[in-house]
Amino acid sequence: MISPFLRSTALGLALAGPALAADPSLDLVGPLSDYKIFVAENTAQLVSDAEAFTAAIKAGDLDKAKALFAPTRTSYERVEPIAELFSDLDVSIDARADDYEKAEQDPGFTGFHRIEYGLWSEGSTQGLEGHADRLLADIRELDSRITALTFPPEVVVGGAAVLMEEVAATKISGEEDRYSRTDLWDFDANFEGAEKIYTLFRPLIADGEADFVAKVDGNFQAVREVLAKYETPEGGFVSYEELTDSDRNILSAKVNTLAEDLATLRGKLGLG
């Protein structure tokens, strides 16, 4: 059997630094490498989806581009928990108009949401070709980086909570996909991405923290139940505008409670 150290370096995992403080009886390597595979699968999917999406834009096919927008984003939103590991790309892929002084008119504004603005608010693919090229290039770059990227365990484990924080702070309000109102697709992918991390590490704490895992399991389940109400037969989601106030409140409460609970996951695993 190869030592965990060798396994981790071979996988490009960084178990140095704070991870040394991790409870030695906990094998973090297995879940981390599984997570890395999950990310790689998603970025590969993202590349092929983005190829089709950007091709539709460049072909001037407005309807097709609109139809592909939300599904293309989901593989990105699933790996968003670790976006801080590629923050330069996260900005150009997924920034919102509010991040720029001149909002939609700002020359620096590019990526998914700039394209979304063009497709829905301006109702045209015209002028989006440059943004489409840039998006595809950024996504390819992201995918190519994953193999070499080190996945610090505290970032991965912490990522689940960070994503819930993001949802609570800037997504639940329907700011993310404000032109297309496809926010529920993103929510679903975000929850899936956070839950993936939780599920991978769950076995390490399930015995000692029965109440905790029961509560977190219950809250993920409650979120799934709410979102299921808004699914379409084609496997997508209806417009964010159809989300009722009471369901928004449930999602909001669950997301905050998940953020509260998942914030303790690092500590429970002995990660700094």
Binding site: N219, S246, N249, I250, A259, R266, G267, G270, G272
Partner: protein
């Protein structure tokens, strides 16, 4: 200007800057800019009892700071609601009593925000919990249990309600000597009850402290229009009066609601720039009181507590018929039915898009009957001259739960028990 005692003033005048520093050093440490302002232990250690037949924060003397937060409640079963109310009671009991916060493993997020350090001082904190009509709607397991007068706040003619500042399933009023204590308590509740409570809106306010007179008494605090506010409030120490005006009793209310109180909250913007450009006589006629002392205009040299004699002024010469106080309480035989206990705070929330100050009154009042109290009085006030200078933009109606009797009791227990029986 603050009036320094003559001897201290003389010392200050006699000493140059360096002399001042020397003198200070001789007396103790010289404070640095970033040193915390020195708290008075007699303020921070003061405690308002949490247990009692009624909740604190209603007839409790109003401290300097108040905050109202309104939440939507996520509770899909009676069990959920009970868990929420028990947890809320535990937190409120701890926060108002004070004490050390638990130490956790530093690898975990700390149990407490830490705003008040390792030991929470009670600081006169009160936490008053009230329910909105929407809590009872769409929850069949609470059917028939809504307090008789509880309803969704409706728009009055002068209102410009902002939906983001209105209504809610549950309100919590936090009051304390210091704003950090109310904020700390709010943050604790938001953190520990995240599963159940989703914040809708929150407004903070305060009232200016006033130096006490020789007997230790203070006048009514001023609002942001510069007038004393509270002069004609009923005596909150008169228990029999409070039983009549403030606490719900009687067969028309559900049994569980006895001993609670209707809370009307109104976020009322004051157009302060315009007010400050209004002649003093007009300001005073709008209220019916003198600005500095608060005395009613029919006897301007009296104190603010002088009772205006409207019978002697049938033409409204001294106090116009449409003056705020005369409309709000014409002091006729009918008026006794419409009394309420007001407990407002002033708020200041930055600048509006038009460049004007966003200031106003966080109006809070309590009454045994919402319709006979707030709603009737507001209907009388509709169209008053004061409306030129004020704009209600938010708020809501709530029912403050009866008190928590002892350690075994919890907020809303009677409601939960009643729901289990039906």
């Amino acid at each position: 200007m603050r009036h320094l005692a003559p001897n201290r003033r003389a010392v200050l005048l006699a000493l140059g800057a360096s002399g001042l520093a020397l003198a200070a050093r001789a007396q103790g440490p010289v404070p640095q800019v970033s040193d915390a302002p020195a708290a008075e232990p007699r303020d921070t250690a003061r405690r308002v009892p949490f247990h009692g037949p009624h909740q604190a924060g209603i007839t409790t003397p109003r401290p300097e700071n108040g905050l109202v937060a309104s939440f939507d409640v996520v509770a899909t079963s009676l069990d959920d609601l009970e868990r929420m109310l028990r947890l809320l009671t535990d937190r409120a009991r701890f926060l108002t009593e004070g004490g050390p916060v638990p130490d956790l493993d530093p690898a975990l997020p700390p149990a407490d925000s830490g705003l008040l350090g390792p030991v929470i001082q009670p600081d006169n904190l009160t936490i008053t919990v009230a329910l909105g009509a929407s809590l009872f709607e769409n929850r069949p397991w609470l059917a028939g249990l809504k307090p008789a007068r509880l309803q969704r706040m409706a728009q009055f003619p002068n209102d410009a309600l902002d939906p983001d500042l209105c209504h809610g399933d549950l309100s919590i009023q936090f009051c304390a000597n210091h704003p950090d204590s109310t904020i700390h308590a709010l943050r604790d509740i938001v953190k520990t009850l995240s599963e159940f409570l989703v914040l809708r809106w929150m407004v903070e306010g305060d009232v200016p402290p006033v130096l006490a007179d020789a007997r230790g008494a203070t006048p009514s605090a001023r609002n942001f229009l510069g007038f004393r506010d509270g002069s004609a409030n009923p005596d909150s120490n008169d228990a029999a009066l409070m039983d009549r005006i403030v606490w719900t009793t009687g067969p028309h209310e559900p049994g569980w609601a006895q001993g609670g109180s209707y809370q009307a909250v109104r976020i009322i913007r004051n157009m302060v720039e315009r007010w400050d450009r209004t002649p003093l006589v007009e300001q005073e006629r709008i209220f019916g009181r003198t600005k500095m002392s608060g005395a009613p205009l029919d006897n301007p040299d009296a104190t603010e507590h002088h009772v205006p004699d409207y019978a002697a002024d049938p033409e409204g010469r001294a106090i116009p018929h449409d003056a705020h106080i005369r409309l709000a309480n014409p002091r006729d035989a009918e008026s006794q039915r419409h009394l309420m206990l007001r407990r407002p705070f002033n708020y200041s929330r930055g600048v509006l898009p038009n460049g004007q100050l966003d200031q106003g009154l966080l109006f809070i009042c309590y009454q045994a009957d919402l319709e006979a109290g707030f709603i009737a009085v507001q209907n009388r006030l509709n169209g008053e001259p004061l409306e030129e200078y004020v704009k209600p933009v938010g708020g809501g109606y709530f029912f403050a739960l009866p008190g928590v009797r002892d350690k075994a009791d919890y907020l809303g227990r009677a409601l939960v028990d009643a729901a289990r029986r039906t």
